[in-house]
Assembly symmetry: C2
Homo-oligomer: 127 residues x 2
């Protein structure tokens, strides 16, 4: 039976943060905006997505507008009215951007994991 | 002759941040602490390193003490007195940690570059 090792008090963890920005350094996408877009896709509603993320509709909309102006294309289409009282959905371009970001994240996670293993091997010899 | 393309207003940049932490999430090393250790190595003085980084001697020392307590080993040796009025140097363990961190950074930079190229290829088709 496999056991589980209690992590050493002195174990070192590797953390990383990834984000997309404009030429001028303005944030286009990081974890939060990514989650917001994913939630809009799943729920078909900007309101429901903003609620789940515990941010205001106004902030969510403002963040998306900012990202759109930096990217040069629309990410979201809002449809008002109808029986459900309005829906939001992602544009084809937004879906492609999310897909590219997903691949980016997977590659980065893989790279981090490999680099971390190597780092752990090197640093465990220190003690 | 090769020309230089003016970057598009809508070009997307990829940014990343890397840091080491303890099991409990407390920061052990990020860019600033790395630079501090590098400068101590180069200058042989904690005071000179802190000055160059525009942080107080007290903060620099406190940051290093915190990292030491999280790592479980000493990073720096301070020698008081002598003609030059005291020197600081890195321990063997600190040197090995820096070396491992350097390799980690190189691997990560490579991975980011590759992932970014792929991302750019995917996203340039969006427009």
């Amino acid at each position: 039976m496999a056991g589980r090792l209690k992590p050493s008090k002195f174990e070192i963890f590797l953390n990383y943060k990834l984000w997309l920005s404009s030429v001028t350094g303005e944030g286009i996408m990081e974890e939060e905006r990514y989650k917001l877009l994913r939630l809009i896709m799943e729920k078909g509603s900007l309101k429901a997505a903003a609620d789940e993320m515990k941010i205001s509709y106004r902030k969510a909309w403002g963040d998306l507008k900012k990202a759109e102006s930096l990217l040069g294309y629309k990410l979201i289409i809002r449809q008002r009215g109808g029986r459900s009282g309005g829906q939001s959905y992602l544009t084809e371009k937004a879906l492609k951007l999310l897909e590219a970001y997903d691949v980016l994240h997977i590659k980065m996670d893989d790279a981090v994991e490999k680099a971390y293993e190597e780092f752990k091997n090197k640093t465990k010899k220190i003690k």
